[in-house]
């Protein structure tokens, strides 16, 4: 009886320490997509904000998308690339273009397969 209890406990223990995810023989192929969450300022002066996302640095001029948004938003973008984002604001008689950039990198999961990481980007107006 004691032996059976010991084996049962061992099986329960092995269940907990075994791999969380089962690995397939092959990793899924690309393209891979990352979620990029943009933090924006929405206020009385800026109820909506014009966003432009560029592939690479701003100066390259390689526009991926242009959109007018009414709040902080998530965009799905092809991973393993550097992106620049601009957000156009009004502040009194000033026009402020907030610029930021980030590389959306890949990572490996427990099975050694590539997967896209998700990112955030701060384009909030300076105080």
């Amino acid at each position: 009886m004691m032996k059976l209890k010991f084996i049962a406990c061992l099986l329960v223990l092995l269940t907990f320490i075994s791999c969380d995810e089962e690995c397939d023989d092959f990793c899924p192929g690309g393209p891979y997509f990352s979620d990029l969450y943009l933090f924006l300022t929405i206020n009385n002066e800026n109820p909506e904000v014009d966003i432009v996302i560029f592939n690479g640095r701003l100066e390259r001029g390689d526009t991926v998308l242009t959109e007018t948004v009414t709040g902080s938003t998530t965009f799905e973008l092809v991973a393993d690339r550097y992106y620049s984002v601009t957000a156009r604001y009004k502040q009194g008689n000033k026009e402020i273009v907030a610029i930021n950039g980030k590389e959306l990198k890949m990572e490996e999961n427990d099975c050694g397969c590539k997967r896209a990481k998700n990112y955030t980007m701060n384009l909030v107006l300076k105080d």
Partner: protein, 186 residues
């Protein structure tokens, strides 16, 4: 700016040599010339800014003198405004780095483990803006510091003081609170 920096460094090293001479001098047999390795973790708390870094160098505990190299980094992106036209501004996200050489002289009361220090570094600063090729300001800066040092054991030092970082970057104040913890490896 660079000529001013050079003059300042010459004066600083002259002052340190004078302190060294008075505390024993190169010909003295009474004061040890033993230099030990020293490593420190630096923190600069500025107005709406913060720098984190490390110092590595040599210290002569008997002469209370040390020379070091230091590297500082702003561990986050700071938002800066860059005027582009009459009413058009770019709000840029800046990363910033500092690398340079420095020297320190400290003074302790007899048999005391709390003293004062004066320190200065000549640093080169550079930066980068995320998402754009616009070049960030760069150049040499002087970073003088003064404060209190506590030798809490034979190998540990804790320093707190005031630093003046005149790096021509838009800030409310160039003064910063400086805190360093360092260790001496004999």
């Amino acid at each position: 700016m660079f000529i001013k920096s050079k003059i300042f460094v010459i004066l600083l090293f002259g002052l340190l040599y004078n302190c060294w001479s008075q505390s024993g001098g190169p010909e003295s047999n009474t004061v040890s010339n033993k230099w030990d390795f020293q490593a420190g973790l630096n923190n600069y708390f500025l107005a709406q800014d913060y720098l984190l870094g490390a110092s590595l160098g040599a210290i002569n505990s008997n002469r209370n003198l040390s020379f070091f190299t230091e590297f500082e980094i702003r561990p986050f992106k700071k938002k800066v405004l860059d005027r582009q036209g009459a009413n058009l501004y770019y709000q840029l996200s800046e990363l910033r780095y500092y690398l340079g050489l420095g020297a320190e002289y400290s003074l302790y009361p007899k048999d005391g483990n709390i003293g004062v220090f004066v320190q200065s570094s000549l640093l080169y600063t550079w930066g980068e803006y995320s998402g754009t090729e616009i070049s960030a300001p760069k150049g040499s800066v002087i970073l003088p510091k003064v404060g209190v040092v506590w030798q809490f054991n034979s190998q540990g030092l804790l320093k707190a003081g005031v630093a003046f970082l005149d790096d021509h970057i838009e800030r409310e104040s160039q003064l910063s609170l400086f805190i360093q913890i360092s260790g001496i490896i004999n």
